[in-house]
Symmetry: C3
Subunit: 345 residues, 3 copies
Amino acid sequence: MPLIKNAWYCAAWSETLTRQPMQRKFLGDTIVLYRTERGDPVALSNRCPHRFAPMHKGCLKGDDIECPYHGLRFDATGRCVHNPHGDGHIPKAAQLKSYPLFERDGIVWIWMGDPERADPATVLDSQYTAFVRDAKTFAVGFGDLQVKANYLLVMDNLLDLTHAPYVHPNTVGGRPEDSIQGGMHVGFEEDEQSVTSTYFVPDMPPTPQLQPLFPLPAGDFRIHMRWQPSSALAMRLTMTPPGQPDGSGVVLPLLHLLTPIDESHTHYFFALARNVAIDVPAAHEAMMEFARRAFEEEDEPMIAACQEQMGTTDLFSLKPVLLQTDVASVKARRRVDALVQQEGR
Amino acid sequence: MPLIKNAWYCAAWSETLTRQPMQRKFLGDTIVLYRTERGDPVALSNRCPHRFAPMHKGCLKGDDIECPYHGLRFDATGRCVHNPHGDGHIPKAAQLKSYPLFERDGIVWIWMGDPERADPATVLDSQYTAFVRDAKTFAVGFGDLQVKANYLLVMDNLLDLTHAPYVHPNTVGGRPEDSIQGGMHVGFEEDEQSVTSTYFVPDMPPTPQLQPLFPLPAGDFRIHMRWQPSSALAMRLTMTPPGQPDGSGVVLPLLHLLTPIDESHTHYFFALARNVAIDVPAAHEAMMEFARRAFEEEDEPMIAACQEQMGTTDLFSLKPVLLQTDVASVKARRRVDALVQQEGR
Amino acid sequence: MPLIKNAWYCAAWSETLTRQPMQRKFLGDTIVLYRTERGDPVALSNRCPHRFAPMHKGCLKGDDIECPYHGLRFDATGRCVHNPHGDGHIPKAAQLKSYPLFERDGIVWIWMGDPERADPATVLDSQYTAFVRDAKTFAVGFGDLQVKANYLLVMDNLLDLTHAPYVHPNTVGGRPEDSIQGGMHVGFEEDEQSVTSTYFVPDMPPTPQLQPLFPLPAGDFRIHMRWQPSSALAMRLTMTPPGQPDGSGVVLPLLHLLTPIDESHTHYFFALARNVAIDVPAAHEAMMEFARRAFEEEDEPMIAACQEQMGTTDLFSLKPVLLQTDVASVKARRRVDALVQQEGR
């Protein structure tokens, strides 16, 4: 299935984008990312128009980037501004494609489609991302990984968290008897912008593996996983002492931002925050290692294995058996289908 | 050339199939194999019909296998018997394809085609396999390897053993002057069911490399290599003291069972037995290591190199030069062609 | 773009071709190369016509080569001369394709096209290659490497040496301020047979990295890089004391011979000679290591990266921006286009 081009995608966590040019592939295009001396993010085609050398192997000269093969220089808008050879003539076509960027809340967003339509007003609302910069309330950690699968398979994974006790029994998943069989209620919500899957377990014993990190008594366990096209998932996990209002206990906001590399590979960016043990470095290390293991060593191999079994065939063409727990992901996929069709017109 | 689906293929040596689910790919299908608590072999599609997760990574719950992604359970017939989520509703389509199996003489046979036609009466006759379980007469060893070539190239290799002194000079092949140029007579036999190539060298000096294993005087050397469609080769090698009847000396029965993984990869199962030095563990180790080296380090690279040179083109389309020694393999290939055509109708 | 078949290509440096059969792939054909007992070079198809085994894994028996699979023997013209099996009958079609070779000045040239048209008179003229055997005047070193790119991208690299200070700043490239910006004049010449790019820098400081090898004062720096279809580049680099005639100082003749492996891989043969420090082994080692690093670790990755960015699309189809410094390579490519069209007719 084609990818949606006219959308904002996460290009990088702000803190990972520096003066060192960095290569990334999004929606099939190879891109070089760097910052100007003032700190503004830049995204240009990574392919020199002269001999197609990879720009990210070149040096920055001020705000310009120099081709590593023959030394042509391009400014931050992609215009060639220097040809060191002969009379220095610069052909008009000497231009790198420039991609619109928007940076807020520690996230660098990129627009891969028609630049005219790149409206920052359509970036994921700050209410879902502001926690990343809210250092008073939260401790935040970042990461990213590459998944050998179409981004919709990662979305499916995130919109149906009932996989947790099966895929993550030794990390974030806990035991089925505590969650799935512990009176868990799975629901979903939707509005014009989003589809959300919800999970509620009253009085759930805390996940044993998380105990050393967040020593908590049993409590009400809630997850909201909100998906917004094309591939931003804002998650909120709370553990609330019995009888208290949601949010009065542990609150873990998370972001899962999926950027298609191509139709069968995904760049998966994640941020994890917590309102407890904020100043405990050991808790931070442990939590990030926990997440890394869960995403890289448990989710990724499972999702990639599914993709491998599916080959290049689209999910619905394989006529999957659908369960009640698939409602959110199926609704999200239907919306993606509609957007793809709309973009195709 | 298409593969023959309606046939029994070796899926595993009995002793290698346990309660630990095992993944194998045969004729392009990915399969999970395991045993029930009673010991019956089970072969199911390895692809969960829900999200196409690989079943072999799941656990057994009694005789059922649990999907490692969301916990659906399927019984040994492939029927979904447990959905742990929500109200536990099980859609009718929640079913893993089940493959007919038949186990005898230490071999688990699988039928990849139309289950209605899976008749155990058509399994390779026990007269060719019974030696595997005849511990009084023989010592037996097992092995298997994957060959990067179409199964017919492996069959060609086995039906023309004149390659032995060239490919296996330091293991099982001996010297050309002892065999090929030592008055060897190559023949073939055929009946409705099979094609057999035969080799006879009167009074051949024993293969020097085998001497430490089977210290024998010179004798009559005979091999019968019987092929039966689609890919079972029963071999019998004898070394008989001069003037004695065949079988009165050393007898080595072997099985070579070829199961196509896909059109360019083969799962090659072999069993080797001997009626001498039965209780000598060192002889056993040496013989198995000998066979492993011959098959894995000598035959496999040669067959794979031929496949690589041939690309995906069928042998006959490349118009090979044919020698008298190709008669058996050409006859076998003609039968395979006929079976493929018959199956295509 | 198709490859030119009717042309002489370098198959090997003479000194690397021995009695040990060697496999090489040129223009998509897999070839076995060896020498007869008298020392004549032989090039045959590496694919036995019987079962397509790779001939280079076989042994030489005198001037004949024996197939490693079933022992057929072929003479140096490719004719099958021995079948060890049965009555020894040799089918007429048992023949390995033989490729015309021509050896001179330490180079073994091969003709991949119509043997009727293989005229040694069209081999690269000895005036460009004689230095290889001129041990009185020059010390010579040889090498070869495989480039993951179409041979024309390697030709482009060599016909536009303005890449040197960017790609080779720490080896053979020197500093842009000494060459590109030091008053360098880039020119080109052409005649019916060839296209040549020329570089001249008056009074250039010597490349610092070369100083330990050739301690020279500043001087006039000249390069002639002469390309002749389809892919032979004869280079001459001189560093001449100011006011003296070209050739009176350091003279470095080089050969770059490009043989397409297939459309996206190239076998790159190079020879480097120098008329200074001829008898200094350390200078030799240092110079060859210098060249190896420049070609293998700097040029090859850059050219391969360009090829990767271009995919399988032809250069001109991608509408590259062209600079004045591309004149020679564009002219050479136009000639290649004409030859390809001519061969297609």
